[in-house]
Structures are given as C-alpha cells and as structure tokens.
C-alpha cells in the first residue's frame, strides 16, 4: 500500500500506527540548525547555531526572549516559531497583568502543547514544523523543556534539537552530571562546546551563534557580540590545549 494514502492529512493513521504528517513535521525540526539548552540549579542557558540563507543575507534569529524569566531556542520553521513566540509573549503578559507574577513554566508549555496537539488531529490543519527548547526560572526552580510538533513535551537537564544534534547530545550526556552547581558563564562554555561538536566544519563566531541566559535573579537576555566573541575564544583555546 502506498504511503501517500496516509500521508496527505492528519486524519488517517498509517498501518504502523503513525500519523505521517506529524512524522514529517518532526523531520522539519531535524532539518533546522542545532539548538541546545542546559541548566544548573540556578541558571538555564540556550545556545543556537544560526544559519544564513545566502552570503548576502543576515542570519536567521534562533533565540527569542519571552518574558523576564523565560526564553526559547528553536529548530525548524522560523515562521512557525515566531507565531508561537508571539503567543507565549502575550500569555506571559496577560498572566503578569492578572496575577502580578511570572507565568509558571509548565503551564505555558502545556498551553503550547495543546495548540500543537490540535494541529495533529484536524483534517484541514498542518502540524507546527518547529521544536522549541524553553528555558525558564519560576517558583519551582530552573526548567528546560522541549516542545514537539506532535504535542508532546519533555523536561530535561540538557537537550539538543535540530540538524546533527546527536553530537551535541553525546557531549551533553557525557557532561551533564557536573552542570548542577555551575555558574552561567561555565554553562555557556559547555553549551558552546556541545554546539561546536554539532557544528562540525562550520567555524563558530559571534555572527552565527546565539546564546540566551536566564537565572534566579537574572532576567533573560541574549549575550552581546563582545561576550560571545570572548566565550567562543575561550572554548577554542581550551579545546586546542586539550586536543
């Protein structure tokens, strides 16, 4: 039986029990350039490799701030990410407006997952083609969540998504145990090293790397070019010595 019979919309399972449109949407995430996140007890760091479609073009943004306590790194369709980003920002503002406090992380991830899930069982809808890594601090501590096109979400101490993310994941798996007590500067270094593993021949620079940090008593912000250049230089030196 041709798989095309089952792959044109979300209303039909294939004989293996998969919804192919959702599987394809997950492929879209894997096509996107690498994004990764890692956290300690007090900080969360999001690191992304930015791509530019052309030498003459600027790089696509990969890390977005949502609120003072939250940011996201994306892999997949940037346009879908911007839609979700706008949704998250307005949810956070609305929550702050009524409760005078930050939006609880898992509640917001739940809202996104609900949105994503609706797109997986509706005939006239297309699942989101984007995976999100959400880094945040709230009453219950630091959090790193991944949200999938399928409507699933998971919590991690460290995770990488996107193209060639396996190498980054391997690095993170080797090192995650030491993350718990690290400062954000140290986390950024680990993040960049993990990204370097995935980036392969691409040279990391302040132009193609985005780093977002958030922590207890530290509002979410993107590192500026100087900070990025310094951090990248540091890990390059360290790696040269060790290798």
């Amino acid at each position: 039986m041709l798989s095309v019979n089952y792959s044109l919309s979300c209303v039909t399972f294939d004989p293996k029990g998969k919804i192919l449109q959702v599987e394809y949407a997950k492929e879209a995430v894997k096509q996107g350039s690498t994004s990764l996140g890692l956290k300690s007890n007090d900080f969360v760091v999001l690191v992304s490799l930015k791509k530019s479609p052309h030498d003459l073009a600027s790089h696509q943004e990969k890390v977005f701030d949502i609120d003072d306590h939250m940011g996201i790194a994306i892999a997949g369709l940037t346009a879908d990410a911007r839609y979700l980003c706008k949704f998250m920002r307005s949810e956070c503002l609305n929550y702050w407006y009524t409760h005078d406090s930050h939006h609880p992380t898992e509640r917001l991830i739940g809202k996104i997952a609900k949105k994503a899930q609706i797109k997986t069982f509706h005939p006239a809808k297309r699942p989101f083609g984007v995976g999100l890594l959400v880094g945040s601090v709230d009453e219950t501590g630091t959090h790193l969540f991944e949200s999938c096109p399928s409507g699933n979400y998971y919590e991690y101490v460290a995770m990488a998504i996107g193209a060639r993310s396996q190498s980054a994941k391997t690095y993170l798996e080797k090192n995650f145990e030491q993350f718990t007590t690290l400062s954000w500067q140290e986390l950024v270094k680990h993040g960049l090293k993990a990204l370097k593993a995935s980036a392969q021949e691409t040279e990391l620079s302040e132009h193609n790397v985005s780093v977002g940090i958030v922590g207890k008593g530290l509002n979410f912000r993107l590192l500026n070019n100087d900070e990025l250049r310094a951090s990248i230089a540091e890990i390059s030196d360290a790696m040269d010595v060790s290798e």
Partner: protein
C-alpha cells in the same frame, strides 16, 4: 410639561418623596409621551460610584540633561490614610518614567498597561520607545477610555531624543502638552505658583533660576514639603526620582507625617 421638567432631579431621591410630598404626575420617559405615571418613583438609595480619589501630589521639573520627579507617598481614602509608602512613579524605559495622582486602582492599571505596551514595542523594534512616542501613546491610551476615563492625572517625564529633560502634563482624558515643569494631584494648586515663581522667575528683580541638579532637587523637595504643610492629603515621604543619561535613580526621604 413645564411641571414635569421641574422635578427632574433623579439623584438620591427619597422613594417616598414623590409619592407623598410631591404627588405631581411625572412622565418617566421625559415627557415624550402623553402618558403619566402616578405611583412612587422607585430609585436606588445610592448608586455605585466607581471612582474614588486617593489624593496625593506629584511634580516634575525638566533640567538641561535630566528630569527630577518628586512625589509624596501617601494615599488616602476620605480622611483615612491607606498607606504611607505608596510609590506614584513607575519606570517605563531607561529614559522615561510616569508619575500619577488620582485613583490608585486606575493608576496601577494604567501603568501596567503602559509597561505591557513598552515591552511589546521593545520586542518588536529591538529598542525602547522614545519619550515623545510614549507621550503620544499615553495620550491615546487615556483618550481610548474617554467615556469611562482613567481617574489618573499624569506627568510623563524623561529625556527627549536630544537628551534634554522634558515633562508632559495630561488631563484624565488624554489632552497633553509639553512643559518644562508640572505638578498634579491634591497639592497642585499649592505647588503650581511656587513652581512658576522658582522656574519662570517673573517676580525676581535679579533672575536666579535653579539650574543645577542639586538646586533642582532641593527646590523640588522644598515644594513637596511646602505642600505637605497645608495639604492634608500630602505627606509621609517624598520620593525623588531622577532620570538622566545613566538611567532612573530613586530615593526617598521622610517628611511630615501628620
């Protein structure tokens, strides 16, 4: 018809008044039809008034490269003091603050609305809105509630595009003007002439206007202190907010508490 018009006072009418004291026929549709109604007119003893004035004074003075905001921290409900440490001034951007007097529930709502709009702007354009833009935004926001106004009298203070201090003064429904100094709230009538005297200087034989930051701060503090002498709704603490190139600096000093 003439007689109906004389009895048109609808507010706080005793329900028995029309029935027994003034049994004048009264058309409830304002005399448009020729039908008349003879029974007692049922009206609520008192309606809900959604507005309350929590009083307090705030003033702002624009300098060459700074703005000095001075406000008291007392909020009242009638003759009761609700709080002695309520801040009237909210930071909107690194170069702009809003300070308001009026109804604190409305003011809090207004300030939150502006903060939300500033955040949205900052994310969209990757820069903070200019003080001039915020002045127009505040005017529009206030006017959008033309028919149930924010009970808030505002001063929007900040540095303009050239880095000069500026103050925008508003009424409750959004009419605004650029000023060099302004005062709002329960002590505005007491404060305005002192500000005129000190910062225009028509009455000086030798004009010596406060120019420096220190002089301006001292004068602002003096004025709030002077207002607190005579205005019962002003007192407790003076909150001084300085906006300059380096950002927004806040400090408080005690003033008379009676």
């Amino acid at each position: 018809m003439e007689t109906h018009m004389q009895n048109e006072n609808y507010t706080n009418v005793n329900i028995f008044k029309n029935a027994f004291e003034h049994p004048t026929p009264k058309a409830l549709d304002g005399g448009k039809s020729d039908k008349t109604y003879y029974g007692p007119v049922m009206e609520h003893a008192s309606g809900f008034n959604p507005y309350v004035n929590n009083q307090g004074t705030t003033l702002a003075i624009a300098g060459q490269d700074f703005v000095m905001v001075a406000a008291d921290t007392r909020i009242s409900s009638g003759f009761n003091i609700l709080s002695r440490e309520h801040s009237r001034t909210t930071k909107l951007t690194e170069k702009c603050v809003i300070t308001s007097s009026g109804m604190v529930a409305d003011i809090e709502n207004l300030h939150k609305l502006l903060i939300a709009k500033v955040k949205t702007y900052e994310r969209q354009f990757k820069k903070s809105p200019s003080t001039e833009s915020l002045a127009q935004l505040l005017g529009n926001t206030l006017y959008s509630r033309r028919f149930m106004p924010f009970y808030a009298f505002n001063l929007l203070c900040g540095l303009d595009a050239k880095g000069q201090g500026c103050v925008y003064g508003y009424d409750a429904i959004g009419s605004y003007d650029k000023l060099t100094y302004g005062v709002q709230g329960s002590g505005s009538q007491l404060g305005a002439p002192i500000l005129d005297n000190q910062f225009v200087g028509h009455n000086f034989l030798v004009k010596q206007l406060a120019q420096s930051l220190q002089e301006t701060e001292d004068t602002a503090k003096d004025i709030i202190n002077s207002i607190a002498e005579r205005d019962i709704y002003t007192g407790d603490q003076v909150e001084l907010v300085l906006v300059d190139q380096n950002g927004v600096h806040i400090k408080r000093e005690p003033i008379r508490r009676d």
